[in-house]
Amino acid sequence: MLKDRQDLKQLREECVKSYNAYTRKILVCAGTGCVSSGSLNIYAKLRELIEAKGIHCAVELEEEPESNGVALKKSGCHGFCERGPLVRIEPEGWLYTKVKVDDCEEIVEKTIVNGEHIERLAFQKNGEIFKTQEEIPFYKKQTRVVLEHCGHIDSLSVREYLSQGGYSAFEKALFDMTPDEVIEEVSDSGLRGRGGGGFPAGRKWAQVKRQNAPQKYVVCNGDEGDPGAFMDRSIMEGDPHRMLEGMMIAGAACGATEGYIYVRAEYPLAVERLKTAIAQAKEIGLLGKNILNSGFDFELHINRGAGAFVCGEGSALTASIEGKRGMPRVKPPRTVEHGLFDSPTVLNNVETYANVPSIISRGAEWFKSIGVEKSPGTKAFAITGDIENTGLIEVPMGTTLREVIYDVGGGIRGGGKFKAVQIGGPSGGTLTEKDLDLPLDFDSVKKAGAMIGSGGLVVMNDKTCMVEVARFFMNFTQNESCGKCVPCREGTRRMLEILERIVAGNGEPGDIDLLLELAETISATALCGLGKSAASPVVSTIKNFRDEYEAHINEKRCPAGVCQKLKRIEIQPDKCKGCSKCSRGCPVGAISGVIKSPFVIDQSKCIKCGACVTTCPFHAIEVK
């Protein structure tokens, strides 16, 4: 139990010493992605084989390290989920990809015993072999601040976190700075909320600090509900202490003594790791009463969500922590005045808090040197969809979309053509080819009619139907509408009905205008952020792909060939040999003809099942 600042310094020194005791370190990725591809079995196998060799295997930071041995650790998410399970070898910084249990023996024999690199496990592209992690194009353009430890240290060890200078920012905030100085530093840094809105964090903290109330709270929004976004999950799993430290600094600065972390139910691993991290911090005395004899008390609680997207909205989230239905309320009063349990509350998201320790340690000027003027710092993005390198990335704000998709993301999967990217989840919008050189920062993306949101980037190729995408998002939002306010509850339902009608081939002239009119009304009158932005994907796809909507409505045609009901299957008369195979295989008897002359499909009977397309030996049947 650490009694004062001196104790913490001493413990940190010990941790640094034991961290440096072993130069050979093996880091097995234990993020959700790699775990489900079997990384824990690899960890167990490596341990077994190393020990069988008679080599000392250090699975945690030891108080008295052996003179010789290897350190084996379970790390947080490396981000390169597509190539998992990943194993990083230090000190060289080699990255082994798609490792299997059967590869472990070779890793122990060659790499651990002889220090040799195993070429076949390295990342390869176009015949080129990339030995170290830093050389791989996916990592090259990244700047890792909030993810700096992810993949590099044992995510479940407070001692490892301390060895990297962990909790020194909290220490600095407690002993070397006044609360006002801490808030000023955060304000000066220009840190903006990473959860979507981009509201300046420092201003929020100052507002809470100003309130005169017996109890204040710090709340962390880990309800990362946007489909296709998993940045926050990776931080909570891969470097939980960094986020706790950010919350503790916020508590010390604003005068809050209690904090709540609200995590989605779909992230069981994150909940488990946060629980462990909190227990560890408590055990060494970084949480509790009179922390390090500074007079500051702080406790942290975890609340698991129960499956409601709307709980990502501030007032719904606090209602849910209070054990109520997660429904937003009318604002003002705002959360900074009347938040959790009606008390002043600092509410930020995971990535925002994770930025705080670096800002306090390295200063606002350093933070502002990254990114662009109005949006300093970095942003973590989850790139998914039709992209070569699916995964988690962190780049400076203002990096262009082209760099993200082509340099980091490796371009479109299977060499396809880029069509659009959906940014900001169901509240965001689409960016297209003309936006490829758009710098990704809060204001530029907003100007282009989308929003950074939490940072999900879903890349879509030219085989994607944008009307269907709009329907997909509207279906999601409609399902998740809490039902409290009429514009959202009824408006999204009507919009969904219209979109369903269009993709089914029953669109009517005037539907586009009706959609836009509904969208305008909903955004102007809905109660909360979910409702206000519910129509954004529709408005944005209409703006960028109006011709696709028109083709669906006027020509009853889906240009991407996705919408089932609008598909048209036709036999090419010049290729058809009249073998009758298709007509025999048709489940509804829609194909007829005379042997040895071209057959014809009766479109009124055809159910577009595609059975004929696959049976035709001459590839004479086409889907249009």
Binding site: T32, G33, S36, G228, F309, I321, A382, G385, T390, V458
Partner: protein, 161 residues
């Protein structure tokens, strides 16, 4: 097998979490983890213990997607239909599972209470899309055929969970 609900078990859950109104969601989660659903019998009891109306509990239980007032299967299969999984073809996987188990959008659990099939909006494992989970255990890069294989193993009792 779970025809009678032991109120002593429910009490234990309440006491472990803390008998306070703000803990309603956690208590219901605890009960659901134990029984795999929220049996009607527990409501009057929890309401009495917390000193709130039953309606207050039902308001929470019916609002959140994760709560079920009907028994769930031994194996709860969640098919991710988040954006990333959707664009990488998760709908055919859902269709196959439903077809093989005789389930539909409205009928989510098999009559023998072995399987429940539901969708989830995103599991955050987009790098492995499309994914399904069986009792929270993630299965990556699914195809309809792989899903059938998992079902077969679950029925034979040879799968991991």
């Amino acid at each position: 097998m779970q025809s009678t609900i032991q109120l002593a078990e429910v009490d234990e859950i309440i006491d472990r979490i803390g008998c306070e109104e703000k803990n309603i969601i956690s208590i219901l989660q605890g009960v659901q983890e134990h029984y795999r659903y929220l049996p009607a019998e527990v409501f009057p009891h929890i309401a009495r213990r917390l000193g709130v109306g039953e309606a207050r509990l039902f308001s929470v239980a019916t609002f959140y997607e994760n709560f079920s007032l009907e028994p769930k299967g031994k194996f709860v299969i969640k098919v991710c239909d988040g954006t990333a999984c959707h664009v990488r073809q998760s709908p055919p996987i859902l269709a196959r599972l439903r077809e093989e188990l005789g389930l539909s959008e409205s009928k989510k659990t098999t009559d023998d209470l072995m399987f429940t099939v539901e969708t989830v909006s995103c599991l955050g494992a987009c790098g492995l899309a499309p994914v399904i989970t069986v009792n929270d255990h993630v299965h990556a890069e699914m195809t309809p055929d792989k899903a059938s294989e998992i079902l077969k193993q679950l029925k034979e009792g040879t799968a991991e969970c």
